[in-house]
Symmetry: C2
Subunit: 294 residues, 2 copies
């Protein structure tokens, strides 16, 4: 049992992430009552019937009334809009956190709309997801042994940070803290760039003029399946992430193209040694990453 419990938790956007967070906290005995708010009524009804939430709120005002913690778990593109809607009703005790895949844009929105409650806002990002979406895919152990990055503002109160940390500890997440710009730069390289590369490959094959996609893809194997798994991710979510982290991502794409061109030159020159060295180094970095990661 824990010394800390929430009387009322509000989940805005009860999808894979929001739903899993609710399930983990309930399982840990850390929450008494969970309210869901969202655009998709059918999904909310399912969350209710699955027992992920205890009630569906009709509007932002009643949702956040007397809340201890409000979790923003809708697509990043709606952050500003939702913050503006709930801000007038937030109480001084109410802590606010989010799970957006980009952090600087969320902080900019918070600075515009949450000025009175900035001390209670703890931006966060769990690095756990799947190409699945919706509450039906949610699970209490989604965050177990996964990274969770918090990027508190200078104004964020320590008390608020500690309470959000306790929630993520209950999810068995591995918690780190860093600056929002560092977070966005790192994720641009290790998450946003690979998504762009995978989406682009699928579209490239779709539009391939020489071969019909069916004929091309008929012979694609398991390597292709895994490489493109992230291309099945939510288009709306990834549109928002790309736009929110545009500058960092554009820089990463440019730099990646330079790397690709350099390998292409080695291939053009039939430079067997350089190719083998490049592939060996790539494998070595990956193996070492796999070995050391949690």
């Amino acid at each position: 049992m824990t010394d800390f419990a929430l009387n009322k938790l509000v989940i805005i956007g009860v999808g894979l992430i929001g739903g899993s967070f609710a399930m983990a906290l309930r399982k840990a005995g850390m929450v008494k009552f969970i309210v869901g708010l969202g655009r998709n009524k059918e999904n909310l009804q399912r969350a209710l019937s699955l027992g992920v939430i205890d009630s569906i709120a009709d509007d932002p005002a009643s949702a956040v009334l007397d809340a201890d913690l409000v979790m923003l778990a809708m697509p990043v593109g709606q952050t500003a809009n939702i913050m503006a809607k709930i801000a007038p009703y937030l109480e001084s005790k109410t802590i606010l956190t989010d799970v957006g895949s980009t952090k600087q844009d969320v902080i900019v929105a918070a600075q515009s709309y949450l000025s009175d409650n900035l001390k209670n806002f703890v931006p966060g990002h769990p690095i756990a997801g799947a190409e699945l979406s919706g509450v039906a895919a949610a699970q209490a152990d989604l965050f177990r042994n996964k990274h969770l990055i918090l990027t508190p503002l200078a104004q964020t109160a320590t008390l608020a940070i500690n309470q959000v940390i306790k929630c993520w500890q209950a999810c068995d997440a591995q918690i780190s803290q860093m600056r929002a710009d560092e977070h966005d730069r790192i994720l641009a390289a290790t998450s946003h760039l690979p998504h762009i590369l995978a989406f682009t490959l699928m579209n490239y094959l779709r539009n391939n003029s020489e071969n019909k996609p069916d004929n091309l893809l008929r012979f694609a194997g398991s390597g292709f399946r895994d490489f493109t798994r992230i291309a099945s991710s939510s288009p709306e979510m990834w549109r928002d992430i790309c736009l929110a982290n545009r500058e960092a991502l554009l820089t990463q794409i440019d730099a990646y193209k330079t790397s690709l061109t350099s390998l292409q030159k080695e291939l053009t020159n039939n430079d067997a040694d350089a190719l083998e060295k490049a592939f060996t180094e790539a494998r070595t970095v990956r193996e070492s990453w796999l070995k050391n990661k949690i």
Copy 2:
């Protein structure tokens, strides 16, 4: 039981693919005696002790003596060398096949070195593999429900093709036939290009000047793991594949970069609709591929 059995099967290169082929044929009761030949003595000893092969050949001459079927399963770069070595000892009954990931280069080598036995040569490529290598990773069901492409020459005898087909049927593979150039063009797009993209991403992150790889990769998640799985593939094998299919691959890389640049422009222009459309189409093509594939 089958009406067709091999008295002597020779596997040159008893790794993941060659070993799995041997195991599948033995399991199907299609082979009486299996001889292994290769560079790596330790691996051959393991193949022997695992029962994948019945004997280790000392040299190419004794290996292929009286053989019914010789399977070339070493890295593509060694094809010409091995063909030259075994050619003088091949008997008129001996059928020769291979599993190289590229086919035009294998055919060019065959035309140079196997002129007397060209009618018995059946080039093949099973689209099954893994980032694992060596006989320890071999398994009898590796090819089950996987594609196997044959690219026979105009000179290849129907009898030889049919015997090789029977072997792959015993592996439960899905067998197709096409021209070697078509094979190489298709695989350049769906296999070789993704490998290049994954290898390049790992190297790009390794050489990233802004962030140390450890700090970058520490927060990489399961999407990254799957996207880069193929970057753990054998560097030697992929060096050979890239060089063997250089022209087609260079064309694919160029065209891919053009696609990437086009997406980059949409991002630069903050074109939310175009990005969402691109991501939606990518996901749709992938979902439809997953649904229709065997």
